[in-house]
């Protein structure tokens, strides 16, 4: 057993010795291959990385150059002006190649942000006082009158309740919808108009909905769920309501005090004041103002606009 075992052991030892030699040869070959591979891969890596870096620098520099060339003007405005600014901005871009980065939202909120750390190059707020305060703080360099709003009596198309004037809103059976908690398109201005016209108390029994959103109020009129409401004229030009509502003018003596005025001003952060001024000039020109008239505003650049500018002391 021992003899046999020892012969097996020696055979095994011989075999392992032979194998270890073979393994060593293989290992050397593998190492040299690895070395060669390493050299090649390092070289190709360096080549590739140089090429990548070069193309990266070229691409990024060209992108940056393009960005620097691209003229972008940041414009903020009262959200109510959005329907006028959107096509006006497009037209300005077609004429000058300058892209307008436009934000439209509740002007008081935007104003609050501007009194804080926010910045913009051109600002068109609704409240005249806001423009004045921004100017006092040196954040707005100057401002000009842009347009005016007008409150009207709105009724569904065909005027099924036969309303002729604001006084008729108090007639028995008339369904009135208001949005006193909404922002200015409805808002508290409607209450002032009703109080000034002397029907605020009488109308209470006719009010079927007091909401916080003027778009909902207008929707109720369009759907025939209500007979009358007081809203800004511009709401009747909204794509959802255009042609679906009839307008009955309200006498000017019932109109609420400001905010009726929209202004447009140059901010101190304008990177390129010439472009900002060119934009304001365009907006106040006939080409720009037509968009505001179309959206239901009274353009500042009109005889009525001039009269209102004087009246409100813009």
């Amino acid at each position: 057993m021992n003899v046999k075992g020892s012969s097996i052991d020696s055979d095994f030892a011989g075999y392992t010795g032979h194998m270890s030699q073979k393994f060593q040869v293989l290992r050397k070959e593998k190492l040299s291959m690895k070395k060669n591979n390493k050299k090649i891969s390092r070289r190709s890596f360096l080549k590739a990385s140089t090429l990548t870096a070069a193309s990266g620098v070229f691409l990024s520099s060209s992108v940056l150059a393009k960005k620097a060339d691209a003229k972008i003007l940041q414009v903020w405005s009262c959200g109510g002006l959005a329907e006028a600014f959107i096509p006006a901005n497009k037209e300005f871009k077609q004429k000058t190649g300058v892209t307008i980065a436009y934000t439209g939202a509740f002007a008081a909120a935007l104003g609050k942000s501007l009194f804080g750390t926010a910045r913009t190059e051109v600002f068109a707020p609704r409240v005249l006082e806001l423009a004045k305060k921004l100017k006092e703080q040196g954040k707005m360099l100057w401002y000009k009158p842009l347009c005016f709003t007008r409150y009207i009596l709105a009724v569904p198309k065909g005027n099924p309740a036969g309303i002729k004037s604001i006084k008729d809103m108090a007639a028995p059976g008339i369904r009135v919808v208001l949005s006193p908690d909404a922002s200015p398109p409805g808002g508290k201005a409607t209450i002032i108009i009703l109080k000034k016209s002397g029907i605020f108390e009488k109308i209470q029994k006719n009010i079927i909905f007091n909401g916080d959103c003027v778009l909902r109020t207008a929707t109720m009129l369009v759907n025939g769920k209500a007979d009358a409401s007081i809203i800004e004229q511009r709401i009747t030009r909204h794509p959802d309501f255009s042609g679906k509502l009839e307008i009955i003018p309200i006498e000017e003596k019932y109109m609420p005090p400001p905010p009726m005025t929209f202004t447009i001003g140059l901010m101190k952060w304008a990177k390129n004041p010439d472009i900002a001024k060119a934009f304001i000039d365009f907006i106040l020109s006939g080409d720009g103002q037509k968009h505001f008239e179309h959206a239901g505003f009274i353009p500042a650049n009109s005889s009525e606009g001039n009269r209102l500018s004087k009246k409100y002391g813009v």
Partner: protein, 264 residues
């Protein structure tokens, strides 16, 4: 028989139960989710980050945010969702919802994972019905008030920042809460989808009407491998199953199938 099953289970475990091993169906599902992200992702984004209403995705036609695709998408979206639930149960959650995609991706990316015990899971899943009832009552009984100032139009991030700056505390609580729950889903596995999503709650209630769904036959031996594989920690036909089909290959008895009615 038991040994045979265990062996099968072990085999399946190497392929199916490890969440890292994706089946072809899972990849197709991910592609579907990415495709739907292109279609409804923007709408989803606006609902969380810019919708001024207390309950998003429902008052879109009277919303002043001009840029939101919900203004034209709201009716097609809800009608398609209703039809999809009649055909495929709650599959919207697993195959189309951008929130589900984010939650699923976070679950597979985040290294920390905590399991919620089945008993607690069974109770918590009822919260989404409560969430649905709450949303319906705010929408229908309280006229869905506006809790944030709508940024009607604006640049992407600037508008989001302005919305957050000028929103009510309730709106902030709503939006930040949803975001936290979505991110926490990465640790606790689809936390928002499993317990809080009101749309998920509505689809869960309707899913029994779904004609074509993933089901399990009588061959099911309750080994639980499908639950391990499932992002929602459930089994086919049980609560929270979104008919994603991820579990199909994990079943050692081949008991999971896609079809109309129960196999005998």
């Amino acid at each position: 028989m038991g040994c045979k099953m265990n062996r099968k289970a072990a085999d399946a475990g190497t392929d199916g139960t490890n969440p890292a091993n994706k089946t072809r169906l899972t990849w197709i599902r991910r592609l579907s989710q990415i495709g739907m992200l292109f279609i409804i992702g923007e709408y989803s984004f606006y609902g969380i980050f810019r919708c001024p209403f207390a309950i998003p995705y429902v008052n879109c036609t009277s919303c002043p945010v001009i840029q939101c695709p919900g203004r034209w998408m709201v009716y097609p979206f809800w009608i398609s969702l209703g039809i999809s639930s009649l055909f495929f149960g709650r599959s919207f959650c697993g195959w189309a919802c951008p929130g589900g995609l984010v939650s699923g991706l976070l679950s597979s990316l985040l290294p920390i994972r905590q399991k919620i015990k089945k008993g607690l899971d069974r109770k918590l899943h009822l919260l989404k019905y409560l969430s649905l009832a709450f949303c319906l009552s705010v929408w229908l009984l309280m006229s869905n008030p506006r809790l944030a100032i709508p940024i009607r139009i604006g640049e992407f991030w600037e508008s989001v920042i302005l919305t957050f700056q000028h929103a009510d505390n309730l709106w902030l609580a709503r939006s930040i809460g949803v975001l936290i729950l979505l991110v926490a889903g990465g640790v606790f596995g689809n936390l928002w989808c499993r317990y809080f999503c009101p749309t998920g709650g509505a689809l869960e209630a309707l899913k029994k009407l779904g004609m074509f769904r993933f089901r399990k036959s009588d061959d099911c031996n309750q080994c639980g491998l499908c639950t391990k594989k499932c992002e929602m920690n459930t089994k086919p036909e049980e609560y929270n199953c979104t008919d994603c089909g991820d579990c199909k290959k994990s079943c050692p008895s081949g008991a999971i199938y896609f079809g109309r009615s129960k196999l005998k």
